[in-house]
C-alpha cells in the first residue's frame, strides 16, 4: 500500500524524441493516493498501457520520476518494486498446479514454505479457487486463469499497488460482472491501491472512485464519475463519457448571449465578460424537449428517434447542427417538430476544447 506519484513524467518510444508527436506520453504530474481505486480510461492507443507499464517498471520513462511513498523507484526493476500487474490475457504457468502458480511469486522471494501455505490458502479462499488448488492451471477456464493472475498479485502482502491492464477482455459477459464485484470486494478488504486500465467507460465508472481520462498521451481529467458526467473539463471527456456523448455547438458569445446560426441562447449574467467564438456543450440528458412551445424554447426538426426501453434518444436538427436528446420514459416525443429548452445551469462553455471555469453563484435560480 502506497501513494504513487509521477513527477514531470514523459515517455517516447523513440531514442531521440524532438517533436511533440514523438511522445507517447506528454509531460504530466499525477498522484495516485493510497488505497484508492482508480480507473484509467481512454481510447485504444492513448498511452494508458504505457503509463501503467511505467508505474510497474516494465517501461522506463524517458523523462521524469516515479515515486512510491516519496521514494524514487524510477531506476528499479519490476521485481524490485512492490507491484503486481494483471494483464489483458491471463498469464499462468502451464506446467504448475494452481497452488504452485499462486506460490510462485513468494517462492521466488524465498519466503518460508509455511508462510506461503497460509497466504496461498487465504487468497485462494478469497478468490474461490480453493477447490481447484491441486488442479493444473492450464486446464481451467479463462476467468479462473485470470483469477490466478490476480491471485499472484494478492499473495504478496507487501504490494504497493495492483495494476490491471484491461483484465476482463477475454472473459464472458456474465462472468465479467462477478469478477468486477470480486475486485471491489478485494479492494474493500485489502485496502490496496488499484489502477484499472480500460477503454470501457461502464467498467471504469462502476469500478473506480476516481477516473483518470486520457487521450493522445495526455491526462484530460481526473474526477469522480459524477464529476466527469456533469463537468467535463475537455470536449473529449464530454464525447467519451456518456452514451450518447455530450452535444457541442460552435457559437458566438457577446454580452451573455450565445448565437448559433440565427438562434440566440441566453447564458446568464455570469458570462457577460466573455466574447468571441466558443463551443457550447450540453449533455443529451439535460436538454428538455416538449411537443408544445415553452418560454425561451427553440423550434427543432426531429430527424430520428431510437427507443432504448427506459428512454428515447432523439436526433434533431437545430440551427444547422445535429443534437442528441435523451427523453425519459413516459414523456411524449414530438414527431416532426419539437421545442427545446437549454437549462442554463447545465450549459458548459469550451474554448479550444477546454472548459471555461465560470463563477456560477447566482446562476442557479
Amino acid at each position: 500500500m502506497a501513494q504513487i506519484d509521477l513527477k514531470n513524467l514523459a515517455h517516447s518510444y523513440l531514442p531521440n524524441p524532438t517533436r511533440e508527436e514523438d511522445f507517447a506520453l506528454h509531460k504530466m504530474d499525477l498522484s495516485w493516493e493510497d488505497s484508492h481505486a482508480y480507473a484509467l480510461l481512454g481510447p485504444s492507443g492513448c498511452g494508458k498501457t504505457t503509463l501503467l507499464n511505467i508505474i510497474s517498471g516494465l517501461v522506463k520513462p524517458s523523462e521524469g520520476q516515479v515515486l512510491f511513498d516519496g521514494q524514487n523507484v524510477t531506476e528499479q526493476l519490476p521485481q524490485e518494486r512492490n507491484i503486481a500487474q494483471v494483464f489483458q490475457f491471463p498469464v499462468i504457468y502451464d506446467t504448475m498446479s494452481v497452488y504452485d502458480n499462486l506460490a510462485f511469486p513468494l517462492r521466488n522471494r524465498k519466503h518460508p514454505e509455511k508462510k506461503i501455505r497460509e497466504r496461498v490458502t487465504e487468497v485462494a479462499e478469497m478468490l474461490e479457487l480453493d477447490d481447484v488448488l491441486n488442479k493444473r492451471a492450464a486446464n481451467l477456464s479463462a476467468d479462473a486463469k485470470q483469477k490466478i493472475s490476480l491471485g499472484r498479485g494478492l499473495v504478496r502482502s507487501d504490494v504497493a499497488a495492483i495494476l490491471f491492464d484491461e483484465p476482463l477482455t477475454v472473459i464472458d459477459p456474465h462472468l465479467k460482472v462477478m469478477l468486477r464485484r470480486k475486485l471491489k470486494q478485494i479492494h474493500a478488504r485489502f485496502k490496496l491501491t488499484m489502477i484499472y486500465v480500460t477503454h470501457d467507460q461502464l467498467e471504469a465508472l462502476t469500478f473506480a472512485d476516481q477516473v483518470v481520462v486520457m487521450n493522445e498521451g495526455r491526462i484530460l481529467q481526473i474526477g469522480s464519475p459524477q464529476d466527469l458526467f456533469e463537468n467535463p473539463q475537455h470536449t473529449f471527456v464530454g464525447h467519451f463519457i456518456g452514451s450518447p456523448g455530450m452535444n457541442f455547438l460552435p457559437c458566438q458569445i457577446v454580452g451573455g448571449v450565445a448565437t448559433i446560426g440565427q438562434t440566440e441562447i441566453p447564458l446568464g449574467e455570469h458570462t457577460k465578460h466573455l466574447s468571441g467564438t466558443f463551443e457550447l456543450g450540453i449533455r443529451p440528458e439535460f436538454l428538455i424537449l416538449k411537443t408544445k412551445t415553452q418560454q425561451d424554447s427553440h423550434e427543432i426538426t426531429i430527424k430520428s428517434t431510437e427507443n432504448m426501453g427506459n428512454c428515447t434518444i432523439v436526433t434533431a436538427e437545430f440551427a444547422g447542427h445535429l443534437l442528441k436528446i435523451k427523453v425519459p420514459e413516459g414523456q411524449d416525443v414530438p414527431e416532426k417538430t419539437g421545442f427545446l429548452n437549454f437549462p442554463q445551469q447545465w450549459i458548459r462553455l469550451y474554448d479550444d476544447g477546454k472548459l471555461i471555469e465560470i463563477e456560477r453563484g447566482s446562476a442557479h435560480e
Partner: protein, 290 residues
Amino acid sequence: MNKWEDNKAWFLVIPVFIVVAVSAILPLMTVVNYSVQDIFGPDNRVFVGIEWYKDVLADHRLHNALQRQLFFSAMVLIIEIPLGVLIAMAMPKKGWGASLSLVLVALPLLIPWNVIGTIWIIFMRPDIGLLGAAINGMGIPFDHTAAPLDAWVTVMMMEVWHWTPLVALMAYAGLQAIPEAYFQAARIDGASAWSIFRYIQLPKMRGVLTIAILLRFMDSFLIYAEPFVLTGGGPGNSTTFLSIYLVKLAVGQFDLGPAAAFSIIYFLIVMLFCWLFYQVLLKVGTGDKS
C-alpha cells in the same frame, strides 16, 4: 447425425487416400511381397514364409548396425535439441539482427546432402583440410579414413552442423509465439532467468520440440548419404548404420528377400520409437501421471 457409415465426408478423404496408397502403401506392399519369397528370376520364385525374418533377426552384423544406429540417434538428439534451443534463445528477437541470424542459421539446410559430404571430406582431410590439418597440427592424430572413432566423430559433426539449424528454427518459432505478457508477468513475479526458461519458454516450446525430436530421430535413424559419401560405412564397419547395411544387402549382394524383411523390421522399429516418443512427449509436463 450419422457419423460413420452414411457420411458423404468420406468422398472428401478419397483423394488423399489414393495419393497415400500410390506413394506409400503400394510400394510397401511390394516390399512385404519380396520379404516372404525367395526370388531367383522373374518367373522363378519360392514362398518361404518368415524364413527371411528369422535369418535377419539372427544376423549379428545387423545387431551391431542397430546398436550403432541407436547410439548415433541418441547422440544426435542429446546434442542437437539442447544446442538448437540454445541457439534459438541467443538469436535476436526483432530488428535487422533477427532476419540476418535467420538467414545465417538456415544456410546449412539449403545445401544438398551429398554436397555436404564432399564439403566435410575436404574440410576434415588430414593433409589439406582446414579442420583436419588443424587438429593434426595440434598434435592430435586425426584421420577419418583410418580411425573408426574419427570417422564417427566426423559423421556426427556433419549431422549436427547440417540439422541443428532446423531445431533452432523451430525452437525460435516457438519462442517468438510466446506473448510478451508472460515475460512481463514473470519479471513482476520476480522469476529468475532459469525459472522463466523452465516454466514459460520450455513448456511453450513443447509442441515444436516434440515435432523436432520426432523429425530428428526419424531422419538420423535413416541416415545414409553422409557416411556413404565420407567412407562408405567404414573404416571397417564403424559407420555402417542400418540404411548402409540395408543397401549393401540389397544392392551389393542382391539379397532381395532378406533386404525386404530387414526393411519391414526397420520400418517397424522407426514406427515403434516414434510412437514411444510421441506418447512420452504428450504426457511430459501435463501432469497426467497415467
